[in-house]
Symmetry: C2
Subunit: 364 residues, 2 copies
């Protein structure tokens, strides 16, 4: 069997590739549910010798560690995979081989997963054509790798719940330094909508406030400061829309400040506590509490609608109007360190100058 | 001044009425906020000597004590009145005199208040024509007096949030023995919608269960029984709609049982605790939490829409398909005993065979 080493020509892709497409890859897997640092293992594997007509072989380039990945491995996420499984919901890859009937993708195309739980913490994977969305291959990889979940979550939450009037309306959010929070600040600013951003008290508080203001935040306050915030005295209209990724009692101040008939959207539960909802505002201010999950939105909408959103975000990235969160890149071999660094629920970036996102980098 | 005593001809209406319409009445008032039994006072008063052209003099017949009345006097309800004030949001009265330009009402018409906080715990009151809604004067007074708030709340909650399929869909509620709960059971049954009804454990539990089943409840369970209720194993589809008047942690089992994209409607907070909402169902089952307040609905909708609803309910009453909650009637002079009996938040009818409603009876 004739074998040639593609790495000479394409140094960032497969080290070993045969004419029959078999690739020696490396991936993380969890044979049982538990804390990722405890249960995760690294393994070498081979992709199948040949592709089915509709299949595509993708080499992963960058894949972030998101809270959803941690929760999936812990077994507390609604996506349950047969074990052992490879985690990883988000990331960018490059097509290195396509099946005989694949029409929408070509070799060298950059792709994002089109559905949740593909299992992207691996150097290579084979999936059907329809599991991938093509994106421009000149998009900076840090942007591409972090585009599908957090910016899209922020985008949809700003678009789908309340009609916001530019230059007039304010929104309020907590966990504002999270990747979604930062995306919300930037996208709201671009819409002309003002943001009140609640963060936890922390060392480097002023640096964090200043970072979020640089992104476009109109107001950044700690949870303590939010407690006595009197919007009326500041001449700020009551927000019609609020985003909550903390839950527990964190929503109480947002409920207090919200406008009649406002909508509070929950997209995370960092506190691990049920959301406390004061009954008065629900009934007498007719506040609505909704959840949002981008994976469900993707399931419920057609590819064209998703493409429209991605194109709009990509345009903002290209024109320098949208920044990705800071990434800390780790090779797959240092997965334990990466997972510890990304242990969202113990630390939540509370001691950082700004929120960084941990990601696996498969490029060398 | 010529005075004749109307009580001879109309024994159920004013004891003293002059040709200039001045009536000696009695009413309850609260000069300051506090617990109703502590702050409420009874006083004699005279209605104005003459009516303005658009005004109507109404003699009250029956007016119930509702949780909203108690909360208004306590100062924890969103309706704040200038003090001293007369409480009472609900009741039926009879028109005994009309102003010169009143066109929609005549003497002897039976009327309900058309807005909240008219202050109906009084033998007589004068209000503009538009503050009243005419209802058929042959409607049993116990029905008329209890029609405007609880049955309308149940009616709207069943109509306005989720489309329910007759003979197929189930709903779930707590506080099912409350006046609204009993109305929900009956109206759902008439729609062909099945109900799971949660009540608190209590003495006379079997009597209460049996009473609610007589009204049309498909299933009645205690809070403890609800905890282990497995609808799937019973072949019951997950409810798309649930009603909660307790809040606190009482919604957790309802959230667990509810269908994807279901709606939980809060219309009360008997536990005085914020509602605990588990984050998972909100996000991953896309549950919506809404509040409902009939006073807001009345404000937001035109009189015709309200009339349509009342007419439909009145038709059900006339054909014997809708029962009012059992009433315990007290004369105004025994108001302290009535208020103690109706102290919803300490007792909630937990020791009763069935929920009774306390009401003032002004007819003698």
């Amino acid at each position: 069997m004739f074998v040639f080493n593609l790495t000479r020509i394409l140094p960032s892709i497969p080290k070993h590739i045969s004419c029959r497409t078999m690739v020696q890859g490396t991936r993380l897997k969890y044979p049982r549910l538990g804390e990722p640092v405890d249960v995760m293992e690294i393994e070498d594997f081979s992709t199948p010798e040949s592709l089915k007509p509709n299949e595509v072989l993708v080499q992963m380039l960058i894949s972030p560690i998101n809270p959803a990945d941690i929760n999936t491995v812990q077994g507390v996420y609604p996506i349950k995979k047969d074990l052992p499984a490879v985690p990883g919901n988000e990331g960018v890859g490059k097509v290195i081989k396509i099946g005989s009937e694949v029409s929408s993708l070509s070799v060298n195309d950059h792709v994002l997963p089109s559905r949740a739980a593909l299992g992207l913490w691996c150097t290579h994977l084979v999936e059907p054509e329809e599991d991938w969305v093509k994106i421009p291959s000149d998009l900076p990889l840090e942007h591409a790798a972090t585009l599908a979940v957090n910016p899209c979550t922020a985008y949809r939450m700003l678009e789908d719940f309340v009609e916001l009037e530019p230059e007039k309306d304010w929104i309020i959010q907590n966990g504002s330094n999270s990747a979604v929070g930062q995306a919300v600040i930037q996208l709201a600013k671009l819409k002309g909508v003002h943001t009140i951003n609640i963060i936890r008290n922390r060392p480097y508080l002023e640096e964090m406030k200043s970072h979020l203001q640089t992104l476009g935040a109109d107001m950044v306050v700690t949870e303590e400061e939010a407690r006595s915030l009197d919007l009326r005295s500041l001449g700020i209209p009551a927000p019609k829309l609020s985003f909550n990724c903390v839950a527990g009692r964190s929503g109480l101040d947002m409920f207090r400040m919200m406008a009649k008939k406002g909508v509070l959207v929950i997209y995370g539960g960092m506190s691990k506590q049920p959301l406390s909802v004061p009954v008065g505002p629900l009934i007498f201010k007719d506040i609505t509490v909704r959840g949002f999950w981008i994976s469900q939105w993707n399931k419920d909408h057609c590819m064209e609608q998703r493409q429209t959103m991605l194109e709009e975000l990509i345009k903002l990235i290209r024109t320098g109007k949208f920044q990705h969160p800071e990434l800390e890149l780790y090779p797959l071999s240092e997965f334990k360190e990466a997972l510890r660094r990304a242990s969202f629920y113990d630390n939540s970036g509370g001691n950082e100058k700004r929120e960084t996102k941990v990601a696996f980098d498969f490029r060398n």
